[in-house]
Symmetry: C2
DNA sequence: ACAACCATGTAAGTAGTTACATGATTTA
DNA sequence: TAAATCATGTAACTACTTACATGGTTGT
């Protein structure tokens, strides 16, 4: 599981509350990782129980904001995890099932869906390009280059999908 | 959820037992969808309860082979589902967290992991290319072209990852 | 008869999603 | 002071994974 380690990394970068983290995952980090606040709160509770993080101040109960700070044990755990081999996630894209169903039973109007997903991919790519131009242009430090790589991965993936969507639309049009 | 609809499509293509399906998902279908036999058996039971499929003959209990046949209700359900809009799955690749951790705490030896994943991607791509040459060469019928698209999606994805792995390795080497 | 394999299934646990509940703080 | 918003949390559910159990068939 990578979520707790994503949270540890985020908190080392900058301490914050559960909602702060949820917002960061919704915004800048969203292009390569996502998590809802429910998931985050549950995970933070587990991480506190494990002694990886501590809340500052140690308030309890609902509604009281907690700022989470990573403890030495948390850094140790992150270093341990970050050296393990991790398999790439299996991707199960419903569109591929739909395309297969089109081949088997037909009449699924998959053309429209391809067009819709192509538009969405182009928009995501445009967003990535904007972030790229604003935050990752010119000469970059090693640290900055490493951060850029996560964005670059998203760009490569979207580009691959866009090329494939176009190919698929040509196939269906023929 | 797409698994029951993937199973319906597979069974319309060719009726078979749960284990037959598991083997098909392990082999040819594996490059765009995967499911373990436990998942498949549970889903088949639900699909039978819904009246989408029926076993031929209607044997019960452990160890007795059941050949599943799609009922008219099942075809209807597949057609219904195949027209719904489906969002692409959010991809959470642990490697991106690791790369981010490398930027934040360092010392994660992510270089080795990138090399390992690059090799694995190259092997998968080679497998896809073999399937492509053996089953999808020359002029293809529309049906065949549609089936090729699922393989083509895998090829585009792997190529994108390979390009990105190489870029990431260059960045880390610098 | 018994080993190997084929085939179906149960149980327990992890991860993620959706819907809802509740307390605390800010602001009109 | 009431509404809006911030913030934390519970509950229930779905999908997937891992480990194990059990019956049936085939070959020696």
């Amino acid at each position: 599981m990578s979520l707790p380690h994503a949270l540890l990394t985020a908190l080392i970068e900058e301490s914050g509350s559960g909602l702060d983290l949820a917002r960061r995952f919704d915004q800048s980090l969203g292009f390569f990782w996502s998590a809802t606040h429910q998931q985050i709160y549950r995970e933070l509770a587990r991480m506190e129980a494990a002694g990886w993080i501590r809340s500052q101040p140690a308030q309890t109960g609902r509604g009281r904001k907690k700022i989470w700070v990573v403890q030495p044990e948390g850094r140790k755990e992150l270093r341990r995890w970050a050296r393990l081999a991790q398999e790439p996630p299996v991707s199960r894209h419903p569109l591929l099932v739909r395309l297969w169903a089109e081949a088997v039973v037909g009449g699924t109007r998959v053309h429209e869906e391809l067009q819709r997903l192509l538009t969405a991919s182009r928009q995501r790519l445009a967003t990535y390009r904007t972030i790229e131009a604003e935050h990752f242009s010119g000469l970059m430090s090693r640290d900055r280059q490493l951060r850029y790589l996560t964005l670059s991965a998203g760009i490569h993936q979207e580009q691959a999908w866009i090329t494939w969507f176009e190919e698929a639309l040509r196939t269906l049009a023929a």
